[in-house]
Amino acid sequence: MELLGALGLDWKILLAQFFNFAILVFVLWRFAYKPIFKFLEERKNKIEEGVKNAEQATQKLIEIGEKEKEVLIEAKKEALNMINEAKDNADKKGNEIIKRAQEEASSVIVKEREKFNQEKIEIFKDMRNNLSELVILAVEKVIEEKMNNEKDREIIKKALNN
């Protein structure tokens, strides 16, 4: 008991010290450690999220770049294809048009030739008819005297056919 007295141990002070320390622990725990750790955790999460987002963004950027390249290459290919096709089509059509024109032209020529031939034949016919009359008239005028019709015609026809 003497030692306790020498150390200044008084149960009232001990109790007071206990409550003081208990309050200190409680207040620091409830109002300092807890909110501070919560805050730090939230900030950590935020930073982690930010870093993750940044990584994702760069990843996406790279992907987009690759896709862009792919699309460009495809587009170029398609464009080339289209141009080639168009060229082929144009060639084909041109050839067709030329062919048709040639065909038309040849058919027109043939028709015209036939027409011409027919006309020629008709003209010849007409001419022959007219000519025979003309010759008859001429011969009549020259001879001035009519032979009998039958003989006359025979002679003329012979003359013409020769």
Partner: protein, 246 residues
């Protein structure tokens, strides 16, 4: 020189309650710490600066150390408020000694000079209370982890004479913990007080400086040791129970 006493000195009494100089400063230090930490916690900013940086570093370092000793997750979260506060409180109390001029303040009580300031941890009452809290906490953890029968069985083992003796030694060990833990802190700080007073009395200029630096080291080391020993006692209890489960 004649005012160095083992017990802290009574400044005045409120009713029948004697207010000692250490108790006064304990309250002052506690109130200051509470206000400081709560203010910091209230004004947390995403981009830390100044005091917030220091507090963050201190708490994060202390918490990660706690986790490394006792294991991450729930046990660390439960024990941290106690050991963290012990460390911060003891450290701050020990640093209070270095406020210049405080040792010159005395009041006269019944004709005798009584120092207004005394190193907080040189009050054996406070140290004993904190030690008891530490040891009782480990007993509560042990009780909660082991269950009532195993907990009692740890101390009173009737399997054989050797086991019985070892059980008694465990019991003695728990009491020895109280004494060793409390007197380590009290002895170091009180010795520092006495030494500083003696050196100041013998050679007031320059000579106390190396001792003050040593005292600074003691202040940090003792705060650390007290908190860590509490932590280690608790972790030992948890580990021994997990070994038994295996």
């Amino acid at each position: 020189m004649d005012n160095i006493t083992l017990a802290s000195n009574i400044l005045f009494s409120i009713g029948s309650f004697p207010v000692t100089n250490t108790f006064l400063w304990t309250v002052v230090a506690s109130v200051f710490l509470m206000i400081f930490f709560v203010l910091i916690a209230r004004r947390m900013k995403s981009v830390p600066g100044g005091a917030q940086n220091v507090v963050e570093m201190l708490l994060e370092g202390a918490y990660s150390f706690t986790e490394s000793v006792i294991g991450p997750g729930k046990p660390a979260r439960k024990i941290f408020p106690l050991v963290g506060t012990m460390f911060i409180f003891i450290l701050f109390s020990n640093f209070l000694v270095y406020i210049p001029g405080q040792s010159a303040l005395t009041v006269y009580k019944g004709g005798n000079p009584v120092p207004v300031f005394r190193a907080i941890m040189s009050d054996y009452g406070l140290v004993l209370v904190m030690t008891l809290i530490s040891v009782i906490t480990t007993q509560i953890v042990s009780f909660a982890v082991l269950g009532p029968f195993k907990y009692i069985g740890k101390f009173i083992n009737l399997k054989g004479p050797l086991d019985f003796f070892l059980g008694l030694m465990d019991l003695v060990g728990e009491i020895a913990k109280v004494i060793s833990l409390s007197f380590r802190l009290f002895g170091n700080i009180f010795a520092g007080e006495v030494l500083t007073a003696v050196i100041l009395f013998l050679m007031p200029f320059f000579a106390p400086l190396p001792f003050m630096f040593l005292g600074l080291l003691t202040a940090v080391v003792q705060a650390f040791v007290f908190a860590v020993l509490t932590l280690v006692f608790t972790s030992m209890v948890i580990e021994s129970s997990s070994e038994e489960v295996k």
